[in-house]
């Protein structure tokens, strides 16, 4: 036992002397979590969308197009849209550069056609490189079109009057005859008020959640969900790096020298497996501490989470113990190890929320430690003890260790 601890201590000291690789592997999950959090986390304000850049091309240059532009100046719409008035060529340039989501083109004679109650068409040119925001602009313009159509139908006579004003020189327009016309318009406005002020039918929108739902999803929630997935992925990378000592000791001739001492092969194997396990736990502790300090992530009952982490670390050490007993050299270990970790992570849900994954991917994910660790972490966060994930990780870990030990014994025989 003393010799096992001596080897263990020596290994840890050796790795601490050149910790760069471990530090980088620890930094990656924190960086990834931060980046995804910045992009996808719900903000402080209600709006979950960035301001939408819209280009408005005004070929009409008259009352109706100015009215349309004025609509975008309303406070609520200003928060939602950033409108630039320019020509089509510049609009296209902006879309190509990713600086505009859509271009709204107001046709020539838009005002005149509208006042004549003739069908007229607003064109929305959508940025083909964008998937989501152009549809928002399209729906918005559809709503404006309905409102303008309604207004022009309701005040068609008045519209004709304005049309006549536009056609005639100011001096020939019969201003003195406007009185009765304005009187009629006033009656219409008064009648319309009964429907429009306040709106006869309005909408009261509210967000609801099922009875079992959690409180509103926050940035901290996102970090708390993401970090376990990232942690298990980079735990695998780090433990693999340490377990590679099994191969390098053999290749460098250290193993032969070590076996000339009173050290028994089982002590060496034990030291390597316990070393991997302990290092995994240390890595998890560092990630938990950093996640809590930097992202204010919550883990649920820390004791339960660390028990789960210990099981995952044990599984990882046993798995890479077996793998390194089976591979021939360091190159093979590196070549096989990294792909296995990435496949585990892809199917197991470290790279994407498992719930958003296609069914086939989810089914394969059950065979990965990532999935059980992520599921277990979720249970701990929700206040449960992760019994099933723990049983699976420990059970399969023991099986892997049972296979690894005799295989490693063969590997340590010199």
């Amino acid at each position: 036992m003393r010799r096992l601890l001596l080897i263990l201590g020596n290994d840890i000291r050796r790795h601490l002397k050149s910790p760069m690789a471990v530090v980088i592997f620890l930094a990656i999950p924190l960086f990834m979590t931060g980046l995804i959090g910045i992009i996808f986390a719900p903000g402080e304000e209600d709006s979950t969308l960035p301001r939408i850049a819209v280009v408005l091309v005004d070929h009409d240059q008259s009352i109706a197009s100015k009215l349309l532009m004025g609509m975008f100046d309303a406070d609520q719409l200003k928060k939602m849209f950033e409108v630039t008035v320019t020509d089509e060529a510049e609009g296209r340039r902006r879309m190509t550069k990713g600086r505009a989501t859509a271009m709204i083109i107001v046709p020539e004679k838009f005002t005149v056609d509208l006042l004549d109650a003739k069908t007229t068409t607003l064109t929305v040119v959508k940025n083909p490189a964008e998937q989501f925001l152009p549809d928002v602009v399209e729906e918005f313009v559809n709503t404006i079109a309905v409102m303008l159509s309604g207004a022009i139908q309701a005040f068609s006579e008045e519209a004709r009057g304005i049309r006549a004003m536009l056609d005639q020189p100011v001096e020939s327009f019969p201003w003195d005859k406007l009185g009765p016309e304005l009187g009629k318009a006033q009656k219409k406005v008064v009648a319309a008020q009964a429907y429009l002020n306040p709106l006869l039918v309005g909408i009261e929108a509210e967000e609801t959640k099922p009875a079992s739902a959690k409180p509103k999803f926050t940035r901290t929630d996102l970090f708390s969900i993401m970090l376990p997935g990232m942690a298990i992925m980079f735990l695998l990378f780090i433990v693999q790096t340490l377990m590679r000592d099994i191969i390098s000791d053999r290749e460098d001739g250290k193993l032969r020298r070590m076996m000339t001492t009173p050290l028994r092969p089982m002590e060496l194997i034990g030291a390597r497996l316990v070393g991997g396990w302990a290092m995994g736990l240390i890595v998890l502790l560092v990630l938990v501490a950093a996640g809590t300090l930097i992202f204010r992530a919550y883990w649920g009952n820390l004791g339960s989470f660390l028990i789960l982490g210990a099981a995952a670390s044990f599984w990882t050490a046993a798995f890479f113990g077996l793998l390194h007993a089976l591979v021939r050299n360091r190159n093979q270990s590196g070549a096989i190890g990294a792909p296995i970790i990435l496949v585990f992570s892809l199917f197991g849900g470290s790279m994407m929320n498992p719930e958003a994954m296609p069914k086939a991917f989810k089914a394969i994910g059950i065979a990965t430690p990532n999935r059980w660790f992520i599921d277990g972490a979720k249970l701990v966060r929700e206040g449960h003890f992760p019994l099933v994930p723990l049983a699976v990780l420990v059970g399969s870990g023991v099986l892997l260790a049972a296979l690894a030990v005799p295989a490693l014994r063969r590997k340590t025989s010199v």
């Binding site: 690789a21 980088i24 930094a27 990656i28 990834m32 980046l35 992009i39 296209r92 190509t96 990713g98 509208l114 069908t119 068409t121 064109t123 929305v124 040119v125 959508k126 083909p128 490189a129 964008e130 989501f132 925001l133 928002v136 918005f140 709503t143 309905v146 303008l148 159509s149 309604g150 207004a151 022009i152 139908q153 309701a154 219409k188 009964a194 429907y195 709106l199 006869l200 039918v201 309005g202 909408i203 009261e204 929108a205 509210e206 609801t208 959640k209 099922p210 739902a213 509103k216 990378f237 360091r330 590196g334 070549a335 792909p339 990435l342 496949v343 892809l346 994954m357 296609p358 991917f361």
Partner: protein, 377 residues
């Protein structure tokens, strides 16, 4: 001429060694394909493209106006589900109260409760809400047209709403004609990401190992100079990136009908990008002495560049500040050029600024890599 032949010979040999390695096919084909399928399917079926938005309607109205209002809501993109009582499970729900008709006929303002689940699709909710406002606008316009008459007689005959202002949507001229598929987004992004990862990891590790094992030193016994060895190594890693991109594009074309816009220009973008990454791999391979460190750096850099550069998600949803920071990522310029080619059917002139930046980066990294390139530790 013979000098060039020698460089090409070494580079070709590096490429052959790499292609004959089974792991190369994992990194360059199997794993990227898994990524492409996963992200392609997720993009295809995600919130970004719901075909029909569902709206559950609890119609308790005791008059005729409820049905009339629902007629106005109906649209090809809206799936109305009429129910008798509020169900426990729904995505979006509107309730027409028992006195809905009575309220309208009495010209009494009323607000309809529209409930949307927090966890349901934001886009579908926005579409339904917009449609509700449009339906209300249509109905109110008809009421204004009807004037201040008796509203109980409105439904027996009234002037119909006309869509005088219509809306036409299209993509910019000479660009795409159909909405690009999820794979059109995921294949270029994954290709760029894996060129970074593969070239830096594989290229960097082999430079380091060749140095540590004395392969580079032995090469100097041939007529190759140190500079030529460097050029050969750079060229070999460049070829690695190109081969990988070709494999992914061919597979994408065969299985996912990938459309790159102009294929020669897309390959030119990849070529310049791969050259920059090849220089980076030689640089890292020359500086690092440990394989794990190279893998760590490669994973870190590839993920930073891919995440910032728009390889994983549409850049439109990224906050403006992050988009500005993203310009430090070589992947940003490569993705920008590929987007211009694919989505805007751009030409050489359109991607020239992107190519210029990538080429400048390749030159800078190449010069730096040449300076730190070592034959022995």
């Amino acid at each position: 001429m013979r000098r060039l032949q020698r460089i090409l010979h070494v580079a070709w040999n590096d490429l052959l060694i790499m292609v004959s390695d089974k792991v190369f096919f994992f990194w360059s084909l199997v794993f990227p394909m898994l990524f492409i399928v996963l992200f392609g399917l997720v993009f295809k079926s995600s919130d970004s493209a719901p075909a029909v938005a569902e709206l559950t309607v609890v119609n308790l109205d005791e008059g005729r106006w409820g049905a009339y209002f629902l007629d106005k809501i109906e649209a090809p993109g809206i799936d109305l589900k009429i129910v008798e009582a509020e169900p426990a499970e729904y995505n979006r729900l509107i309730i027409l109260p028992p006195d809905f008709s009575a309220g309208i006929e009495a010209k009494r303002a009323q607000k309809l409760a529209f409930k949307k689940r927090e966890d349901a699709s934001v886009k579908a909710a926005a579409r339904v809400e917009t449609r509700l406002y449009q339906a209300i606008a249509r109905m109110l316009s008809e009421l204004v047209l009807f004037g201040d008459g008796d509203l109980t007689k409105f439904l027996d005959g009234h002037a119909e709403f006309r869509d005088i202002v219509q809306v036409k949507t299209r993509f910019p001229e000479n660009t795409v004609t159909v909405v690009p598929s999820g794979f059109d987004h995921s294949i270029p992004g994954t290709t760029i990401q894996f060129i970074m990862m593969m070239v830096i990891i594989y290229g960097g590790i082999t430079v380091m190992e060749d140095r540590k094992k004395g392969v580079l030193a032995r090469m100097l016994f041939s007529p190759l100079s140190k500079g030529e060895v460097f050029q050969a190594k750079l060229l070999g890693r460049w070829g690695m990136g190109l081969v990988q991109a070709l494999i992914l594009f061919i597979v994408g074309k065969i299985f996912f009908k990938l459309d790159l816009g102009s294929v020669p220009l897309a390959l030119l973008v990849i070529a310049v990008f791969a050259l920059a990454m090849a220089a980076l791999s030689v640089f890292i391979g020359s500086l690092c002495r440990k394989e794990d460190l190279i893998i760590g750096l490669a994973v870190l850099l590839a993920n930073i560049f891919a995440g910032l550069g728009g390889c994983w998600w549409p850049s439109e949803i990224v906050p403006r500040g992050v988009r500005t920071v993203a310009m430090i990522s070589p992947a940003y310029w490569a993705m920008d050029a590929l987007h211009k080619l694919r989505f805007f059917q751009g030409g050489f002139g359109d991607i020239l600024p992107d190519l210029g930046i990538l080429a400048a980066l390749a030159v800078v990294l190449g010069v730096v890599a040449a300076r730190v390139f070592k034959i022995r530790d």
